[in-house]
């Protein structure tokens, strides 16, 4: 009897244990399934976050930032009898007037500090370029661009509207201010395309080796805070360029009118330019590549700030330059430019009147990596004083106003 009871009890215990085990198995599987579901849920959440992050990154990747800073030290020899009144800035920014203010220059200054943002969407582009100086920040470029579909062989078509580079010449229309061979543009460009930017709308495109950029502008530039057109006339400006690999160049045209409404009666004059430029690249010397560049401009009425209508109204002049650059290995480039500038073709030269201003610039650039460039520049005005000897000077006096410049440029 006792054995039977023990056997029954043992059987009961075994059955109970088996039942408990059977209950635990589905529970274990359920827990595993729950774990897998939880992991799948986390994975789905991570995938969603990744998709969001990729979307944000895609937007950021469409924004391209670039810029450069040019820090300079410059020294200008003073005009003998005008000491201490010499001005380095006057030489570059007021080419038609003699240095007249400030002490003789041995100074550090920031020549340009630019930051440019381009947002490239599928069909549109937004461009903003700021120029910073120790005293102010101004907009150099601010335009909206819409891309147009390809038309047969015509590609790269777009319409740009706003504040943008004037499409004229090589020194202004093509070459960035950070890549100038002699740190500053030749006098003709600084006179007839002063400021380099204006408000307007342009069309650009390319066909094979040819490219065109042309548009309609206010015409008087934006230097000196000119945000409005001074008259109802608009100027048409354009450049047709070509690129045959080792030979590039273009022809440029500009036609418009300007009214000086302060004059009584109002005076309306033509504002026009015609330009041609060419660049030839030669791989002759084992030292490095050689380039020959030249540009010619004939212009009527300048963009000098003043009455708002421009300067030298109706006066026609011309200018040209010839530049040679020679690469010396990977890091050095030697550049030399000879230029000629005639403000007024009809001016009669005399002992006290200089008709043609000539200058020689020589520069040595040293590139450090892709972002840094150190430049030593020597500028030699070959006529001496800009507008002839000053009052009291003996006739025919030629005085030195050489400029020595060291520039450090960082670019990204």
């Amino acid at each position: 009897m006792n054995r039977i009871v023990i056997a029954v009890i043992a059987l009961s215990v075994a059955s109970a244990a088996q039942a408990q085990e059977a209950q635990q198995e589905p529970q274990g599987q359920q827990e595993q399934a729950a774990d897998v579901a939880a992991l799948e849920g986390r994975l789905a959440a991570l995938e969603e976050q990744l998709a969001e992050a990729k979307g944000s990154l895609l937007s950021l990747s469409r924004l391209k930032l670039s810029g450069y800073v040019q820090a300079r030290w410059a020294y200008q020899q003073c005009i003998g009898n005008r000491q201490p009144n010499c001005s380095y800035e006057a030489y570059y920014e007021s080419p038609s007037s003699a240095p007249s203010s400030g002490p003789s220059q041995t100074g550090f200054h920031i020549r340009r500090a630019r930051l440019k943002g381009v947002y490239d969407a599928d069909l549109a582009q937004f461009v903003l370029q700021l120029d910073a100086s120790p005293s102010s920040v101004t907009a150099k470029e601010a335009y909206a661009s819409v891309k147009l579909p390809k038309l047969g062989g015509l590609g790269g078509l777009a319409i740009d509207a706003g504040l943008q580079l004037l499409p004229f010449g090589y020194d202004v229309g093509v070459r960035s201010s950070s890549d100038l061979d002699l740190l500053e543009r030749f006098r003709g460009a600084r006179t007839w395309i002063a400021g380099e930017y204006d408000l307007g709308v342009t069309l650009r495109g390319a066909y094979g080796p040819f490219n065109l950029r042309a548009g309609v502008f206010n015409g008087n530039g934006v230097e000196g805070g000119k945000n409005w057109d001074n008259d109802q006339y608009k100027d048409v400006v354009g450049r047709l360029g070509f690129d045959f690999g080792l030979v590039t160049g273009g022809v440029s045209g500009w036609y418009g009118k300007t009214t000086d409404s302060r004059a009584n009666p109002n005076v309306t004059k033509d504002r026009k330019r015609l330009g041609a430029d060419a660049q030839i690249y030669l791989d002759l010397l084992p030292l490095g590549g050689t380039a020959l560049k030249g540009e010619f401009i004939v212009g009527t009425t300048t963009l000098a700030s003043g009455s708002g209508a421009g300067g030298d109204l109706g006066i026609t002049g011309h200018a040209w330059h010839a530049t040679l650059t020679q690469n010396l290995g990977r890091m050095l480039v030697l550049a030399a430019r000879y230029e000629s500038y005639v403000r007024d073709n009809n001016l009669v030269a005399s002992a006290r009147t200089v008709k043609e201003l000539r200058a020689l610039d020589v520069a040595l650039h040293m590139f450090v990596g892709g972002n840094y460039k150190l430049t030593a520049l020597y500028t030699h005005p070959m006529n001496g004083e800009l507008e002839g000897p000053g009052a009291g000077d003996p006739a025919g006096t030629v005085e030195e106003t050489d400029v020595y410049t060291i520039q450090a440029q960082a670019k990204f």
């Binding site: 895609l58 590549g289 020679q326 690469n327 040595l364 990596g369 892709g370 030593a376 020597y378 020595y404």
Partner: protein
């Protein structure tokens, strides 16, 4: 004038110092070519004691950028240089870049070894990678979602694929970007539903799909098919220099094009240019 002369002399001396210190030839760029370039460099240095060749990858775009900013002698590229890139070299150095084709590559399309699919047309490949087709079922495979693998946009392989397969269209937004062909192969080898592309030399542990040519036949990227032009995704591999190659760079490129250099091309899994 004296100051100008002194400044110029100082600049010339400073400029010459790095040139004197640098005797190695630097080669940068294409990840497709990096293994090949390293093999070339090893053999070249064995044969020329004292000479040094430094090879790094990063992608064709990185190599070309380095050529423009002067930090490499030779840029390896699995795509031709663009016009604006050539213009940048010209504007900076007054010479045009010189292109030398040093090998040929068949751009292979990889899938997992177990995927029951043998070939694709270019149009099907385009539809997959632009996101129009998302299931293997639509191209003759199993009823399952396609997992896309692609390369970074600095890669010449990426640019070649975009130009020649996608014809300029954007990649699908769900294409996963991977750095280097080896990473693409590794990913596809582990993902049964994955598809990727890259140099034929890297295709180990994955299956290469036949690509249908102009005659309607499917072709694998074999030496015969690449040399005959039957394989539709064949491309040359380039070395670029600033101007005509000179000095040590010229000697290295000459070695790469020599019979010995071209034999290395075949060993690595690419196809000789001659």
């Amino acid at each position: 004038m004296k100051r100008l002369i002194a400044t110029s002399a100082l600049a010339l001396t400073l400029g010459a110092l790095p040139l004197a210190a640098r005797a190695a030839v630097t080669v940068k760029g294409s990840d497709t070519m990096v293994i090949l370039a390293q093999r070339w460099a090893e053999e070249y240095m064995k044969k020329n004691a004292g000479k040094k060749v430094q090879v790094t990858g990063g992608g064709s775009g990185i190599g070309i950028a380095a050529l423009i900013n002067g930090t490499t002698d030779i840029a390896n590229a699995s795509r031709p240089m663009k016009k604006d890139e050539q213009a940048k070299v010209r504007d900076r150095y007054s010479v045009l870049p010189t292109e030398t084709a040093v090998a040929q590559d068949g751009l292979a399309v990889y899938v997992h070894e177990s995927l029951p699919l043998q070939q694709l047309t270019i149009e099907q490949l385009r539809s997959i990678y632009n996101g129009d087709v998302t299931s293997w079922k639509d191209v003759g495979g199993p009823d399952a979602k396609i997992v896309l693998y692609s390369r970074e946009n600095s890669s010449g392989t990426y640019v070649f694929f975009k130009d020649n397969v996608l014809q300029g269209e954007d990649f699908a937004s769900n294409a996963q970007t991977l750095p280097g062909t080896a990473a693409v192969v590794n990913a596809v080898a582990k993902e049964k539903l994955g598809i990727g592309y890259g140099g034929a030399a890297y295709a180990k542990g994955v299956k290469e799909l036949k690509i249908v040519g102009k005659d309607g036949q499917g072709y694998l990227p074999t030496p015969e098919n690449v040399a005959s032009g039957k394989y539709p995704l064949a491309r040359p591999l380039f070395m670029y220099t600033r101007g005509k190659p000179g000095g040590e760079a010229a000697a290295f490129i000459a070695f790469c094009l020599s019979p010995e250099g071209q034999a290395i091309v075949t060993k690595v899994g690419y196809f000789p240019v001659k």
